[in-house]
Each structure stands twice: as C-alpha cells, then as structure tokens.
C-alpha cells in the first residue's frame, strides 16, 4: 500500500503532521511506519496539547523519588520502603465495551506499577456515569463494576476506595479512572531507560493478537454515531495471565539481570520499544518474526500496533537469557528474544528478512508535535436567584432525607461489595471511609489513599475547582490520620481543539498546581484524557486526583464512625453559608448558577495540619471531612456508621439553620473528642488560630435539633443505603 495524505488522515493525523513526518524522514513513510507515527503522535501518547501546561505543575518534594515521565511516580515512606502509584483513564473503551474496557484499565495501571518492581497493594477507582434516568447508565455501571472487580479480584489486589458520580454530561461518554499503589524497596526500583549496546530485547507475557489495534488513536478522537464499529479497538483482558506475569516479573526482578523494563500499554510494542530506546538514547532492532503471535499471518503493521494485554518488554544483561527464560517457563508465559539494542538511535524492524521500518527515534519522541492550543478564559459564573426567605421555610429533615438518598451521596456499598477489599490481609480501612488504608506488610506503617473529583465546581469555575479537588484529597487523607505525601492526576476533559474546553483544562491545571504547590503535595504521575465528548458536546471538566499519605503508627488511624455516647462533636473550619453550586442548591432548589465555594489555602493547610497534630496526640476519636451536602450530611454518615445519634445546637451565627447545615464551605472537618480532652483540644485550636464550632454531643440513636426537627439514625440509614441497591435491582 502506497501511503498518501488521505491514508494519513484516516490514521488520525493532521495534514501538517503528515507533512512534517515526510520532512523528518526525507521520504514518504511506508504503512508500518505511518502506523507507528500515528500511534506515537496521537494525543494519548504524545500529550501534544497538554505538555506545555503540565510543565507548570509542581513535581518535586522531599519524599519524591520519581516524578512524572516514568511508568508511575515513586515516593519515599522511610525505612527503605517506597510507594509507586499512578492513576489512568480508560474512558472510551469502557463506554464501548464496559466490562473489558474497565477490566483492562485496571490491568494496565497495575502493570505500570509492577513494571517498576513494586508489588501492587491497593487499587482505587473513580467512575462517572450519565444521568440515572439515561437508558444506558444501568448497564454501563453494572458492566464497569463487574469489569473492575473481575480483574482486580483475580489479581488478588484489594480495591480499597473509590468514587462514583452521576451527571448527564457523561451520558455519551462515561469516565473510568483506575489507580494502583505498589510497594517496593527503594534500592530495587526498575526504570524504562535502556542502556548498553547489543543487549538482548526480550518479549514476555501473552501472545500478540489483533485486538486493540489503534486503541490509543481511538482514545484520541471524539465519539460519533459509529462508535459501535470501534468495538474491535477495545482490548480483551486476561487477569489470570497478568497474575502470572506479575509473579514472574517480581521473581526475575529479585535478581540483577534486568537493565530496563517497560509494559506494553497504549500503542503496545511501538511505544514500549521507542520509550526504552529514547530514554537510553539508543537504537533498537527487532525481528518481528520472533514476536509470539496468537493469530496467523499478522503483518508488521498489526504486530506493532496491537494492544493485546499482559505483555512486557525487557532489556536484559547479556548472558542472563537462560536464567530469565527458566522463570517465565515456570509460570507458563511466552518468552522470546526479539531483538537487541543498537547504537543507530533508530527503530529498525525486520520481517521475513526485509527491513520494514527504519525511523530515527528522536523524530517520534522529541520531534513529536506540541501545540499551544488557543483557549478561552472561563466565563464568570452567573448570579443565581436563590431567595433566602424561601429556603428558610424548608424542613431540614425532609431535605436531609432527599440528600442522603441522592445518587451522588448515597452509600456505594452495592459497588464496593463486589470488589475484594480484604485480600492480602492488610486492609485496615475499607471502602466507604474518607480514604482506604492498607498496612505496609509486616511494619507499623500504613498507607492511605483516596481519589476525588468535583466536576460541578470545576465546571462553574475551573480555577477554583482545580484547587478544590487537591484540597479535598488533602482533607480525605488527614481525616484518617495520614500525612499527605503526593498526588497523581487523571485529567478528563473535552476536546482540546475547542477553545472553551481547552480553557477549562488550562485553568483547572493552574488550580491544581497552585494548591499542590501551597500544600507541598506534589504531582508525581498522571494521565490526560481529552476528547471526552460526543459530537461537539464535552463532559464537565473532571480532573480526578489520587492522593497518597502515610500513617507512621497504624494504631493511630482514625475512622469516621461515632464512637461513644456523651462525646463532644466539633466543626473545625469556618462556615460562611456558601450555598451556590452545593448539592442542596442543585438537588433541592434546582439552581445551577453561581460560583463554587472559595478555597483559602492558608486555612486549608492550617486546619489540616492542626487536626493531624490533634490526631497524633491521641485527642481525636473520629473525624470526617465536610464535602458534598455540608455539615449535616457529613454528620449523618458518622451517625450511620457508628450507629449513634447526636444532639445538635446550631452555633449563634447570622446565617440560617438551612444555610449552616447544607453549605459547602471548604476546609472543614467534623471531629469527635471526649469531654475530658475538650479543654486541651480547644487550647490547641485557639493557639493555632483555627476556627471551630461546638456542635453537640453524641447520643444513642437520634439526630436531634429540637422536638420538631429530629429523626432516628435507622431511618436515615434506610434513606442512605437503599437507593443504589434498588436502582440496580430493577
């Protein structure tokens, strides 16, 4: 096939990009080469629209061992232990084929982590679906949950936390973001940088098939009416093979035979080989006839672009081939020496004794396109017409019941009960809390992780929304007693070619950067997913933030369930009564205008650090951050989990009860303390200039404000726990 501009455009390349390829090669590429360029230059692999802005994120810190640019980020947790972690999207495949799309998303992110030598110890996910009324939502939710569980459960890695939301902007484009944490010894971390000449290049894992060809290109385009035709671009996962691959890789890594290792993720053999060569400033020569294939008569083009799962590429030390092969034979996995490193700085492919591709590595990587896309500053939020007198006539308990049963607030037990969250025997805080927590096996340390996003805030004001998500992640870690270390981000946006969507991206990233820099909560890994849109309708901007923190003594971990009757309950942080963009405004008042709550980074840091100190001094019995639904929603969850009630008194503020209880002001937590510690706690809060309200005392089983405003905890529990189960059962 003779390549021309039309074929290039069919591969998702722009006219200019095709022209540039011809210039760089000083000739017309053949079809295999064109395939390789299109795979490397698409948005998913090249970050061509985002690179410029991502550079501005803070990526360094005292505990950061490896920032963005490797398979995953790595942070130091002391005693020669390190945590490897990353979040990644698998949005497009999950919409087309929810089970396999979600499953392979989980498989892919786990491979990114164990490629670096780390044993995965926890999985998390952030999943977003269309309106609960939309005809596809139920099936997509069921398929995605089955897929995540199917893969993670089989791997024997606990799924410890997650987030699920519903919003009509995802009707035609759901989001599936998967995150994995792994544990590694600091001196046994593996990287993807090849080194040395004539070193054998090894292929291990599953055989290569025709599945997933052009998956990365599909992920770099918008959906149209013909999405169903794209099913063959979705990969098919086999968690059993991945489990074997994990064990075999870790067994090989225990020795000293690996120079570099890279998993075959998006764009398969193409991106893995080029990545290793590029980082090592070397060339790689591959004989494609040696690649283990599942199907007959696969062409070089298909072999290079397949996204078959559960495969790895390794550069070995010379003379270690037999030793390595023994390990992969033991685990019944394919092992093939397919090439070697060269000094050519080119990627050279042979098939049937003919050279089928010859491309300088730098043309694919350093010379890949980078765009400074045009973007529009987000419009300022419109004023809303909330009438304070109207809302003050609402009855608190009736509103609370509606909010607790809202799809975005209700218990997600139906989901996480389908994920094995206790395998590995170290899960000390399971899903449903502020963060999931797993012990560092055999030590007193524990690692906490959470994943958050606030699309509504980001949509109303991207800069504030970007900051808010980072702060929420910070708070979720602190609420369990963990010191926040670093974050990974998955940036889900519409088309970068649309100036408004690009503007949302730029401003969200700026917000993320400001908050993570101020909170010393750097970004160590991440992924960008653009083109989350159907036709020209983009999703709400949805950056997902995965936060990781450390608890030095796991016996000091905090949970949110109320512990003891007569204990005192405080709100830490100031409540101004910000109702705009709150769940209350959207669900109860049907009001979608107005700005999101503001972020005060000083208070955020000060409140969080002071709470951590209180926890460290053993003064906190339970804690929970206040987010969607405000104080009373957070309180209700603490009551439900602890099977206790609370006698409330509203502090003497100028704002009304409704505003006080449902506002979504930021930087706040609810904490439970014992009466005998009260003076000590208040002294510390005063000394640190942290605002607090005394909210009430814990009782047996009643949320009680006054005789007219009270409800039993059992009743609240019913509203909170039944919605999702009922929705999914009919």
């Amino acid at each position: 096939m003779i390549v021309n501009e039309i074929i290039a455009i069919d591969h998702g390349l722009k006219k200019d990009e095709y022209k540039k390829i011809c210039e760089l090669l000083k000739r017309t590429p053949n079809i295999t080469e064109l395939g390789i360029f299109s795979a490397m230059w698409n948005e998913h692999c090249s970050y061509k629209s985002s690179r410029l802005h991502l550079k501005k994120l803070p990526t360094k810190g005292k505990q950061v061992i490896q920032g963005p640019g490797e398979n995953a980020g790595v942070v130091d947790i002391g005693d020669n232990d390190a945590i490897v972690f990353k979040i990644e999207s698998h949005n497009h495949p999950s919409f087309i084929e929810p089970y396999q799309g979600a499953a392979t998303g989980v498989g892919g992110i786990m491979r990114d982590v164990f490629t670096m030598g780390a044993r995965p110890i926890a999985n998390l996910n952030s999943i977003h679906f269309g309106s609960t009324q939309h005809k596809k939502t139920k099936n997509l939710l069921r398929g995605v949950v089955h897929g995540i569980g199917g893969y993670g459960n089989c791997m024997g890695v606990p799924t410890i936390a997650g987030q699920t939301s519903f919003d009509s902007s995802y009707n035609g484009n759901i989001l599936v973001n998967a995150m994995t944490l792994g544990l590694v010894k600091k001196d046994k971390i593996f990287y993807s940088k090849a080194a040395g000449l004539n070193k054998p290049v090894i292929y291990v894992g599953s055989k290569t098939g025709r599945d997933g060809i052009h998956g990365a290109s599909m992920a770099s385009a918008s959906f149209d009416d013909k999405i169903e035709e794209k099913k063959p671009t979705v990969q098919v996962g086999d968690p059993f093979t991945e489990k074997l691959l994990l064990e075999a890789c870790l067994e090989l890594m225990a020795g000293d035979s690996i120079i570099a290792i890279q998993d075959m993720g998006a764009a398969g053999l193409t991106s893995s080989s080029i990545e290793m060569a590029s980082k090592g400033n070397l060339g790689i020569e591959i004989n494609l006839n040696k690649v283990p294939c599942r199907e007959t008569k696969m062409t070089p083009y298909e072999i290079m672009l397949s996204e078959s799962q559960e495969r790895m590429l390794i550069v070995l030390e010379n003379g270690k081939e037999e030793q390595a092969k023994t390990i992969f034979d033991k685990w019944n996995l394919d092992f093939a020496i397919i090439g070697k490193t060269t000094k050519s700085k080119k990627i050279e492919l042979y098939f049937d004794s003919k050279k089928v591709a010859d491309i300088p590595v730098n043309t694919l990587v350093e010379n890949s396109p980078m765009y400074d896309r045009k973007w529009k500053k987000a419009k300022l939020p419109k004023k809303n017409k909330i009438n304070k007198n109207d809302i003050n006539n609402l009855r608190i308990i009736e509103v609370l019941k509606k909010i607790l049963a809202n799809p975005n607030i209700c218990s997600k037990e139906w989901i996480w009960q389908q994920y094995d969250h206790t395998v590995m025997g170290d899960t000390i805080q399971k899903p449903g809390g502020d963060s999931g927590v797993v012990r560092v096996h055999g030590t007193n340390k524990a690692v906490a992780a959470s994943v958050d996003s606030s699309a509504v805030y980001c949509w109303a004001h991207p800069l504030t929304g970007g900051k808010q998500v980072v702060c929420e992640s910070f708070r979720n870690l602190i609420s369990v007693g963990a010191k926040p270390i670093a974050i990974t981000n998955c940036l889900n946006f519409g088309s970068p070619e649309n100036e408004e969507n690009m503007g949302e991206f730029v401003e969200c990233v700026q917000g993320i950067g400001e908050a993570s820099s101020y909170l010393k909560f750097p970004v160590v890994s991440g992924n960008v997913s653009f083109y989350n849109q159907t036709k020209d309708q983009g999703i709400k901007p949805t950056p997902s933030i995965g936060g990781v923190g450390l608890i030095n003594d796991y016996t000091k971990m905090i949970t949110m369930d109320f512990k003891e009757v007569d204990n005192v309950v405080l709100v830490i942080g100031k409540t101004e009564g910000h109702i705009d963009q709150s769940l209350f405004a959207r669900v109860i008042l049907n009001e979608k205008n107005g700005p999101p709550p503001e972020i005060n980074l000083f208070n955020e840091k000060n409140n969080g650090e002071t709470l951590l100190k209180l926890i460290d001094d053993n003064l906190i019995k339970s804690a929970h951050d206040i987010s969607l639904g405000g104080i009373i929603t957070a309180l209700s969850k603490m009551c439900i989990k602890g099977n206790k009630g609370i006698k409330l008194k509203k502090p003497k503020y100028l704002i009304s009860e409704i505003e006080y209880f449902f506002a979504e002001d930021q930087g706040r937590y609810i904490v439970e303390i014992s009466k005998k510690d009260q003076k000590k706690v208040l002294d510390i809060l005063n000394k640190n200039a942290v605002h607090y309200d005394e909210l009430g005392t814990i009782n047996e089983n009643m949320l009680f404000l006054n005789e007219k405003t009270k409800v039993t905890i059992d009743e609240l529990k019913g509203f909170n726990t039944t919605w999702l189960k009922q929705y999914m059962s009919n």
């Binding site: 459960n153 791997m155 024997g156 086999d238 019944n332 009960q417 170290d426 000390i428 012990r439």
Partner: protein, 227 residues
Amino acid sequence: MKSAVITFPGSNCDRDMDVALKKFGFKNKMVWHQDVELPKSDLVVLPGGFSYGDYLRCGSMASKSTIMQSVINFANSGGMVMGICNGFQILVETGLVPGVLLRNKYLEFICKNVFVKINNKNNGYFKNISNDVLELHIAHNEGNYFCTNDQLKEIEDNAQVAINYCDPNGKIEEPFNPNGSIKNIAGIFNKKKNVLGMMPHPERMIDSSLSGEDGSYFFKNLINNLK
C-alpha cells in the same frame, strides 16, 4: 505443628494463609503445584484465589495438578486437608467432599463479613472451640453450595455440614444466606471429618485492626487440637 500451603497458578490467598498459620505457631511450607511429594505435614491447606483463572470451571484444572494426587492420598490416609474458598472449589472437583459450588444467586461477587454457626464440633477443626458463632469474611463469585437431595440426606445423616451462614446470634435463616447455598451451607466435611472445605476466609480475620478477630479463635483452636 507442620503445615503446607499449595500454590497453584492464580492462587492469591496463599501468602495470607502462610502469614496466618505462622502467626499461630505452625511451621509452614509453601508447596508448588508441580511438586510430586508433599512435605511431612500435620495440615495441608488449599488456599483461595483464582487457580487457572477459574477457566473451564472454578477449581477444575487445579484438581488435576501434579501435587493433588499426593494431597488426595494424604486425605484418604486420614490427613487433615482444609480448602478455603477456591480451595473448597478444588476439593469438590476432586470429589474429596460432596456437592458443587455454583455461581452466587445474585450473580455478583460478594466481599463482606458474615456470621457462621458451627454445626459440628466433633472433629479436629472445631473440637474444643468455645464459640458457637464466628464472624468471618467471604469474598467469592461461586460459593453457592448445591447437591442432590440424596446427597443432602447423606451429608446430614453423617453430620458433614461444618458451618452454616447465620445471623449474629446463630439463627440460620434465608436472609443471612449471602449466595443462595442450599440450607445456608458455608462449609462441609468429608465422611471422616478430616477434610474441610469452606467459603469463608478465617485468615483475613486474625487481628483487631482487620475486619475482626474470630479467625484467630479458629486457628488457635486448630493448632491446639493438632498438638
């Protein structure tokens, strides 16, 4: 006391079982599925997981692994063999314990704490245990125990039901049946009661920081019984 845990390709609770057995005083050895001989052991454990990816049928391929002939011989000579979760599925595939394990009634994987009533304490596993009800953890997709009426009669006549799903007070009723198992059966013995297959994971409940501690009672009692 010596124990052995078999690792099949796809086992994923083998380490957890190793940790639990050692915690309560067993000298445990990990045994690879392709080994021919079992090490000298007082207890052999088939751990949970997804042996052979659950392909064909859960436990079916693992039941034909090289090591299983030794495990079957050991069981037939009266040795204690315990299969947890996928290990239980392997045991039914070997025929060492009767019945089959079907897909959960609601067609979903379930991971949660459950209560089980100990039905028979006249055996090496539950002899002397002071609890009647244990809070344990389940995590499975195919734990729906089923057998024919004739088999059920035989199982009950021989007191082969080991544990049943129940409420916290030991009441065995349908609402506390997580997966549709016939008669709320969560675990059964062979005729001689030296082989035990059960869906719940005692190894996940061995310290107060985890989901609970009732697994500790089980293991402490088990090692004392073997001494």
